[in-house]
Chain length 519, copies 2
Amino acid sequence: MMESRAVLSYVLSLDLDRPSLENNTADVERVQQVIKKELGIKNIQINFDLAKRIPYILAGSPDKIKAVVFRNQNTWIVVDIVKPDTNQVFLGIAADIGTTKIAVRVVDLESKKILIEKGFDNPQIEVGPDVLTRIHYAKEKRGLERLSSLLIQGFNVNIAMLCKKIDCKPEDIYLFSGSGNTSMTHLFLGIEPSGIIREPYIPTINIPDTLKSDKLGLKLNPSAVCFLFPNIGSYFGGDLIAGILYSSLNKLKDPSIMVDVGTNAEVVVGCKDWLVACAGAAGPALEGGVSDIGMTAAPGVIDKVCINNDTNHIEFTTIDDRAPVGVCGSGMIDLAAALFLSLKIDIRGKFIKKNCGDKLFEKDGIDYFILVEKKDSGTKENICISQVDLNSLTSSKAAMYTILEVIVCNTAGLNFDDLAKFYVAGTFGSFINPESAISIGMLPDIKRDKFEVLGNSSLGGATQLLVDTAAFDEVDKIRQSITYIELNVNAEFMNMFSGAKFYPHTDKSRFPSVNHLEE
Amino acid sequence: MMESRAVLSYVLSLDLDRPSLENNTADVERVQQVIKKELGIKNIQINFDLAKRIPYILAGSPDKIKAVVFRNQNTWIVVDIVKPDTNQVFLGIAADIGTTKIAVRVVDLESKKILIEKGFDNPQIEVGPDVLTRIHYAKEKRGLERLSSLLIQGFNVNIAMLCKKIDCKPEDIYLFSGSGNTSMTHLFLGIEPSGIIREPYIPTINIPDTLKSDKLGLKLNPSAVCFLFPNIGSYFGGDLIAGILYSSLNKLKDPSIMVDVGTNAEVVVGCKDWLVACAGAAGPALEGGVSDIGMTAAPGVIDKVCINNDTNHIEFTTIDDRAPVGVCGSGMIDLAAALFLSLKIDIRGKFIKKNCGDKLFEKDGIDYFILVEKKDSGTKENICISQVDLNSLTSSKAAMYTILEVIVCNTAGLNFDDLAKFYVAGTFGSFINPESAISIGMLPDIKRDKFEVLGNSSLGGATQLLVDTAAFDEVDKIRQSITYIELNVNAEFMNMFSGAKFYPHTDKSRFPSVNHLEE
């Protein structure tokens, strides 16, 4: 659509033609011409505020200028023009705008180095921990404004702190690249989000323009612009598009998969020729908050569990090596695998009383398994996992597997073994031990070296957009080549789901490597 | 460059697809899609402020919407979206932003009718009557701001007055289309203009983007946008481009000419295949203010002069039939023609004493001709024309003719007789009697029916842009097809100029129809 020459950076060093009686092109057009030539394109946008400043910037007829350029839908934008003999640095901000956590990173646009980064809690938690509460709160215009303002102020404060640490100023920041889910994208922009949660689930906007960041209240350079990754729909947000960009799934020869596991499981399968995506509720057990002991990652939370082969005891590690206080999602998966492989739960995920011994007790008709005794616990209480917790995990792992089966096998028509790579994205995902997840039948039994942890792929994609001038077109291509599948819970799905509720599966032949001792 | 379907109005009535589970396109993109389909184009811009309002506009899922659309360089802009069942009118403003006079016109964008119009003095006259003074004043940033603010406030006040008269509100105005010379365009936009008057005469901007009009301080609808006609260079402004658009010179089969006569003579020759333009100082005698009796049009000013064939007396009319107080440019041309044809001045434009009788007197070595006696004068003084006034007119008419000769004959390689049409533009031009102008050798001796008065062609062009959705592309084409000729005052020009200083010319064969009695 747009023929443009490859440039290596959004910061261009340009030689300027001197004005003369023979070349009396107007100042603004003269600047446009040299940039158009450099970029190999026909059209470029210069914001009116910048156009007004150009005669002052060009005063004294400099031979050279630096231009910060960026992209919008079908055109390039001139963000700012400066005389090059300043010691100015040109910075960009990449941000993962999560519902709970926000990650922000400062990038040098010229050297492309990551200078510093930090995470902070989404200040909207003050209004409500989940998207639903916030969207209801946003129905009032003042509520929407407050949510947007909380988020923007959170960015302003944290960006200023980061800048201070590296001896820079927010005025040095020219580009902001952010990715979030569809709701966060709306709330960041201050755009009414209620359609997202109301049938037929229509977002207000999927592809926001690149905006002047001061329009949003961001305190960066007055000329700075802000790009947000586009959404596919209400349940498939810009964070996923950023993740695909980061994974390069869309450039691989052989079909691969990327899975972002959380309360929602978001899955993309594909290669350079096609992409299929879906998102579905993977169940709350994976992110904690529902089961009594389920917690999000924090000091003292059990994140890894294994069986000691000699003692047959269950051992664990905690975050920051503190006395244990609960179990996070990855710990739960490990624990379930350990219980299953040591024959303490059966293929339906139910406790086998005779194998649990005095670790198991019953209260109000529910079985509890003591994972940590009172004396070793950071809470001074036993840390237990109940049959209810386990059932919840079972549902979640079954949902995850079924989603994978639907999209990889039924939709893409592949076998799991056909997948060249299995990318696990998201902060939560990076803690999952694939071995454990396979043992309980949550992830398919494929070669372990195919698994690759991407970490915060949303932040990675947002960063890539700042350092790779071809990334904007990639984002566009990704968005256009994705087929989004609605996971309809029909009879077939429920059938598959039923089989997946067994450990590892009713069809054991799917998990040949799971070394499960028969009772 | 842009494939677009012909639409007849910038106000579109659109059927909107209803959102559904099957069609879950986001609101903003759904609106974009229907407009893109209507216009037959691939890309369209929706301003962020409008995008934010769209969910509220679409609340209740209306089947139909109205959209006001407009153009920018390479794209269409969605100006506003409204539900159609309102009694809302959609108005546009066309404006000729003259250095001295401003003309403003209210147009109904749907019916395309001109509803009302008025003229007012450019409020910048407070700072200085001429462009030069104002540009010097604008060197200080506060000066520039004041000049821009004076102009914008002038528009706001006068637009509000016009709206009140037709029972509308400035909020009903969605489009503003203005044309002015290059300096006025800069001052209207608040853009630094000093390059225009300083070698190498580089404007800051030639092609301003279509802007949100509130950015300029214009009090119209908050969504309204403002288009200013592009300039070719410092001495060829958007008013001329608007004039060409209005004249349709660029669509004619046979070469024609358009001349805007004022302090500057701006001339365009061409047809559908080519356009050549130049601008040059035609001399101050034509606009008054320099000679003692020269005045701009006002009540009591002599605007028409002729010789009574019976009495051989010079007779005249005044504006509003008031007692005479002075002579305007068109009157001066008539007067010179009358004096020449009645043998009161010779071919060099000098008074012939013996033929003037007691009308002529000498003071301080300068000859004066009494046009109106004290007793008939509105000033209670004789109204006289001096040899100095006449010399000034002679220079002006010679300059005009030479410019025409240079561009029509030397540059375009035509004879004057080859011109199919001779358009006279500008308020001043509309008062000129071609017969008189030909008699003194100011305009070429061509068939009288080829002359056509365009009136305020700048305002006409600005209006056309609001009612003809193809006009933007025409403007673009005009701008790109014009070759602008710098009138270098070289030996050849001076030679031609010398011949043209005679009445009607040294080469009498050029003016066969001028019935000049030999002395």
